[in-house]
């Protein structure tokens, strides 16, 4: 058994047992589901920013499209649970297909600027087309049954958690395979030195486009599950503030690491839950967290631990995008 697989089994096992200890710490199981779904969203950012070095500051667009894809299909087509998740996931993919051609032409901060600006278009659509989307108020719906040809059953919060866990671990498995594949190694190489990758005969645009589609699909899946968790879809899931949260979660946990997004999401979601009950000033804490994270530990928690333990462990898929080989900024 490889060390990576052992880590995965331990973490997977702990997550599977987590609901048992939650009553002791007065946490609801739905909050741990939220942790997993935010971790999924942060992984979608991780693929682009952590691995490939592209400032993916608009992934809330795909997440929100997933949410609305699920909500709209339930409200207007009365689909069941699995179908709603699939529609949401597909909505994320379609979002990637629409925005991808615009985003993949540029790099560096310009990519970030385009991601922020284009990401916001879906927010305004959801916000403005009130007759379909409910506008600012969002859309409520009842969580649909899981429907198979002969069996129908509903998901309570506990069973929902295990569905979310299965999806999360599935995506982790996907990342673990892709990260060491030629495709994944090429993405890391693009982050370090894109010009060189092109001079190895590789059309980097094509790799970035595929990475974007994988990222948007994963974000769509996370968003669809999030809407089904809270039985609600609302425009702020599409907003750039939401994108910022995803980037923060990823950086906080450790850019370019497999488990970083989970660590970041745990701190973010549970921290928000606890602080919000104490003071209404959560947003100041959040802003301070951004600043502290950037100035204090840009490699994130897992990145810093790995750097401390072993410099070599950081190499390749596991290091924060840092100053060593910045992409040509500004004019690129």
């Amino acid at each position: 058994m490889t060390p990576a697989l052992r880590t995965a089994l331990v973490i997977g096992g702990l997550l599977a047992l987590a609901p048992l200890v939650l009553p002791i710490v007065h946490l609801d199981v739905s909050i741990v589901s939220e942790v997993l779904l935010f971790a999924i969203a942060a992984m979608s950012v991780n693929l682009l920013l952590g691995y490939t070095g592209l400032p993916a500051f608009g992934n809330a667009a795909f997440f929100g499209l997933g949410s609305y894809g699920a909500a709209l299909s339930i409200k207007y087509a009365h689909v069941h649970f699995i179908e709603a998740v699939l529609v949401g996931t597909l909505a994320g993919l379609v979002g990637g297909l629409i925005l991808g051609p615009f985003l993949l032409r540029r790099r560096g901060i310009y990519f970030g600027l385009l991601a922020i600006a284009f990401g916001q278009v879906f927010y305004f659509i959801a916000y403005r087309f009130t007759s379909v989307t409910g506008g600012e108020d969002g859309m409520n719906f009842a969580r649909p049954y899981v429907g198979f040809p002969n069996v129908h059953f509903s998901l309570n919060e506990m069973s929902f958690y295990y569905v979310a866990l299965a999806i999360y671990l599935g995506i982790v498995a996907l990342f673990s395979v892709v990260a060491v594949s030629p495709f994944g190694r090429t993405l890391v190489a693009i982050r370090q030195n894109e010009v060189r990758v092109r001079y190895l005969g590789i059309n980097t645009d094509r790799f970035i486009f595929v990475a974007l589609l994988i990222s948007s699909t994963i974000a769509g899946l996370g968003g669809a599950m999030f809407a089904l968790l809270i039985n609600f879809a609302y425009p702020l899931t599409l907003d750039w503030h939401q994108s910022g949260d995803f980037v923060l979660i990823m950086i906080l946990g450790g850019a370019g690491t497999i488990w970083g997004p989970l660590v970041g999401a745990t701190i973010f979601v549970i921290g928000k839950d606890i602080i919000s009950t104490i003071t209404p000033l959560w947003q100041i804490f959040l802003g301070a967290l951004f600043i502290a994270c950037v100035l204090g530990f840009p490699k994130g928690i897992l990145g810093s631990i790995a750097a401390f333990r072993d410099r070599r462990a950081l190499v390749g898929a596991a290091s924060a995008p840092d100053a060593q080989t910045p992409l040509p900024r500004g004019t690129s």
């Binding site: 600027l113 278009v121 403005r128 910045p326 500004g330």
Partner: protein, 290 residues
């Protein structure tokens, strides 16, 4: 409906001038240091609130219009020197993330001091009427804003093209190392450049407060159109920012007239069309990635 066309086009012009001036500030900062200043909207809001605080303590609007942006510049420069400067050597998205955090803190601080709801900042009485010009009458304050923004943009253009410092600034945008080699202190350039961007944001912030309202998030509402302006105009182009701002202003005002629900979406449609024809924006330059 067509009788509203004239006034709406004028509104578009005023709105476009706001977008242009905010976009120019963003573009200056982005070009020289690679920082996407997500807190730019917060600086606008800050200038608005400072002006509001001064006016409600009895100073004149004109005094506030000049001093509030200057105070905002001081805050901006302190932020740049202490928080953003350490990030210049790092990947640019770190400064994006940091200014994003700043904007979250700022929003909450405004909220705490001035409340969640908007506060009124009324323009001076002699600008509250309308002015009859030819066949149309214009609200005097809007006319004044249009004039003030044009003056600010022209002054900036003169500063960048006619003064020694402005020329150095533009040269530094091309090649920071060369300027350092010529003996110009790069850090001073960074600081002044940031201050200049914030000053423009401050002026826009005070003027906008009297027109579009003032609340903890009012500056951020102008930020997104300003990003779109930078993209449409082409990064680093002064002229592009002006053209882009006006295009968006007209696009928004016309859709407001005909399809109100699509008013924000229209600027994205415009952005998509421009990028399809010119991937680097209207006045952007060619680069390695195409």
């Amino acid at each position: 409906m067509l009788e509203h066309l004239g006034p709406e086009l004028f509104n578009g012009l005023v709105l476009g001038a706001f977008y242009a001036i905010v976009a120019i500030g963003l573009s200056l900062i982005m070009n020289l240091t690679g920082t996407i200043n997500m807190a730019h909207g917060s600086f606008m809001t800050l200038a608005g609130y400072l002006a509001f605080a001064m006016i409600s303590r009895g100073t004149s609007f004109w005094f506030a219009l000049l001093v509030a942006p200057l105070l905002t510049v001081i805050v901006g420069v302190v932020v740049e020197r202490t928080l953003i400067r350490p990030l210049y050597k790092r990947e640019p998205f770190y400064s994006l993330l940091l200014t994003f955090g700043l904007s979250l803190v700022a929003e909450e601080v405004f909220h705490l001091i001035w409340g969640a709801n908007g506060v009124p900042l009324s323009p001076p009485a002699n600008l509250s009427g309308t002015v009859q010009l030819g066949f149309m009458s214009f609200p005097a304050y809007r006319l004044f804003i249009a004039g003030a923004l044009v003056v600010a943009i022209v002054a900036l253009a003169l500063f960048l093209t006619r003064t020694r410092f402005g020329l150095r600034l533009r040269a530094a945008v091309q090649d920071t190392e060369m300027i350092a080699a010529l003996g110009t202190n790069t850090q001073v350039l960074y600081m002044v450049n940031f201050g200049l961007g914030i000053f423009l944001a401050g002026i826009a912030g005070v003027l906008a407060a009297g027109l579009l309202g003032l609340s903890p998030t009012s500056g951020n509402a102008l930020l997104m159109p300003a990003f779109v302006t930078v993209i449409i105009g082409g990064m680093g182009s002064l002229f592009g920012s002006i053209a882009g701002g006006l295009l968006i202003g007209f696009a928004i005002s016309l859709t407001t007239l005909f399809i109100p629900a699509a008013s924000e979406v229209s600027m994205y449609v415009l952005m998509a069309i421009v990028l399809m024809i010119r991937p680097r924006g209207l006045f952007g330059e060619e680069g390695i990635f195409g």
